[in-house]
């Protein structure tokens, strides 16, 4: 039986745990994508995903219909991921841990190399790798705005709502991030690829 999202949310509010599974099925990819992109680490992203959906389960009563469920979920996932990164960075400062963050970059590089034909797609695969690495090199606040705007397709107002900041701040961060990316990707802006 296919229940609509509103029904699933209503059922979950009334304590029906079975309503959580269809919601996870709908949004798991979105949350995973965000978690990996913000934390830059798949293991950390797994923790963020679990925390996100547990928070949804426990706090569904606080969900008010003045926003869509998707925006509400974005807010939880992004904040969970940002908090995770903040805690991780603090921990890393104490333990001088450095290995975790590079894991996603190396995975990307590995996937790109496997997926592409080394002869015909060599240039593009290298470009993909550089573009992804450039995005990952941005500070987490700017990276988050780029991810939400460029890849998730959210408007400035929606991003401002999710990050609990002004639209002006979102525009400013996006502009800064684009300028930084332009500098990083300048060598790859030739006529053949763009």
């Amino acid at each position: 039986m296919d229940r609509t999202e509103a029904l699933l949310i209503a059922d979950l509010c009334e304590g029906d745990e079975t309503a959580l599974a269809p919601l996870i099925e709908r949004y798991k990819r979105m949350v995973y994508r965000l978690a990996v992109q913000i934390t830059k680490n798949r293991a950390d992203a797994d923790d963020v995903m679990q925390e996100t959906f547990i928070k949804v389960y426990r706090s569904i009563h606080t969900f008010r219909k003045d926003a869509t469920f998707e925006t509400w979920l974005y807010r939880i996932a992004v904040n969970e991921a940002l908090n995770f990164v903040k805690r991780r960075d603090r921990r890393r400062e104490c333990t001088l841990e450095t290995a975790a963050e590079s894991e996603y970059d190396s995975t990307v590089r590995h996937n790109v190399q496997i997926a592409n034909d080394p002869h015909a797609q060599a240039e593009k695969s290298e470009l993909r790798q550089h573009v992804t690495a450039a995005v990952n090199s941005l500070p987490v606040k700017h990276r988050t705005v780029v991810i939400l705007h460029e890849f998730e397709g959210l408007t400035h107002a929606e991003i401002a709502s999710i990050l609990n900041c002004s639209e002006g701040t979102v525009r400013s961060r996006l502009h800064y991030a684009r300028k930084k990316l332009r500098t990083l990707l300048k060598p790859y802006m030739d006529a053949r690829t763009v």
């Binding site: 509010c13 599974a21 995973y32 009563h61 460029e150 890849f151 525009r171 684009r178 300028k179 802006m189």
Partner: protein
């Protein structure tokens, strides 16, 4: 040119997204036509956007990963679920609390004042000014119609001042030997002595004109007795009954001393064809029950229904 570039530069990102207003878009467009540096900036940022859109690798996981994740999440939820009765009770109470809170928020949101009244913040002082002026204009009218009480001196015969449970007491039968006026115009001057009513045992005098709705009502009191009259007066085959009423918030009490016609108690009744105390009381009760608002209408008895003793100047109303 440099200052113009500084103004345009923050807008370039929005220009590429197409989220600028028409005027801003026209400004940027006209500027980049004449400025090579800004034109290159726009072109580079467009290329950057293109690269991000087409060459960025979004992370994806396998179905196996998602299946494992769902299982682990389910286990974690079950583990964290309350098992002991008191834990379940607490969880249920918490859930109920959240539901009530959510409902309260929804109702508060639905009935919020701003849904019905739209006042822009910058116009609020104008609204306050207009309201103040309106109050200043209306104040004289309000004060005229609703005079403030000045001690016990003034009588209010407002419609609510006469209570349904008023009591009628006719203390003196056949008390009146004179016809009297109970109303006269405010502007009239009293030219003669105050009329009196000889009831046989007591002499009641009319004193203290009280202002009600532009008319003067006359009260009775005795000269040598503390007993306050509630008298029935024969006036041309009619009976003018002086009755006491408990007004709103007043207690039912007999009058004492000269404290007649205070602001909470009295009205004048004109009951037609009543000759005895018992009859007057019955008639009053009957009318009070049968005619709604009877007590109120008593104040509007036409003056011509009463004959007036010489000694009081008669003013046609």
């Amino acid at each position: 040119m440099r200052s113009k570039c500084q103004k345009i530069e923050p807008l370039i990102s929005d220009y590429i997204d197409g989220t600028l207003s028409e005027r801003q878009t026209a400004d940027v467009t006209s500027h980049i036509r004449s400025c090579g540096a800004c034109k290159r900036e726009v072109a580079d940022l467009k290329k950057t956007k293109h690269l991000l859109k087409n060459f960025y690798i979004e992370p994806e996981a396998s179905d196996t990963y998602y299946a494992r994740f769902a299982t682990e999440l389910q286990q974690r939820i079950e583990e964290s679920a309350p098992t002991a009765p008191h834990q379940r009770l607490a969880a249920a109470a918490t859930r109920l609390g959240w539901q009530l809170r959510t409902q309260a928020y929804r109702y508060a949101d639905y009935f919020r004042l701003s849904r019905f009244i739209f006042i822009r913040q910058h116009t609020l002082p104008y609204y306050v000014l207009a309201l103040t002026m309106l109050m200043l204009i209306a104040a004289p009218f309000l004060l005229t119609h609703f005079p403030f009480d000045n001690g016990n001196e003034q009588v209010h015969f407002a419609s609510t001042a006469v209570d349904r449970d008023a009591t009628l007491a006719v203390e003196q039968e056949n008390a009146a030997s004179h016809s009297i006026s109970t109303r006269r115009n405010l502007n009239s001057e009293r030219k003669t002595e105050i009329p009196s009513v000889d009831s046989g045992s007591d002499i009641w005098k009319f004193t203290d004109d009280r202002v009600v709705d532009g008319n003067v009502f006359v009260a009775l009191h005795t000269e040598d007795s503390d007993t306050v009259p509630s008298v029935a007066l024969d006036i041309d085959s009619e009976l003018l009954t002086y009755a006491e009423f408990a007004a709103q918030d007043a207690t039912l009490e007999r009058l004492t001393g000269r404290d007649v016609l205070t602001d909470r108690r009295y009205a004048l009744l004109l009951l037609r064809g009543i000759n005895t105390r018992q009859h007057a009381h019955q008639e009053y009760q009957r009318k009070r029950i049968e005619f709604r608002g009877f007590s109120h209408k008593l104040l509007d008895v036409p003056l011509e229904m009463m004959s007036v003793e010489a000694g009081y100047d008669l003013i046609e109303l």
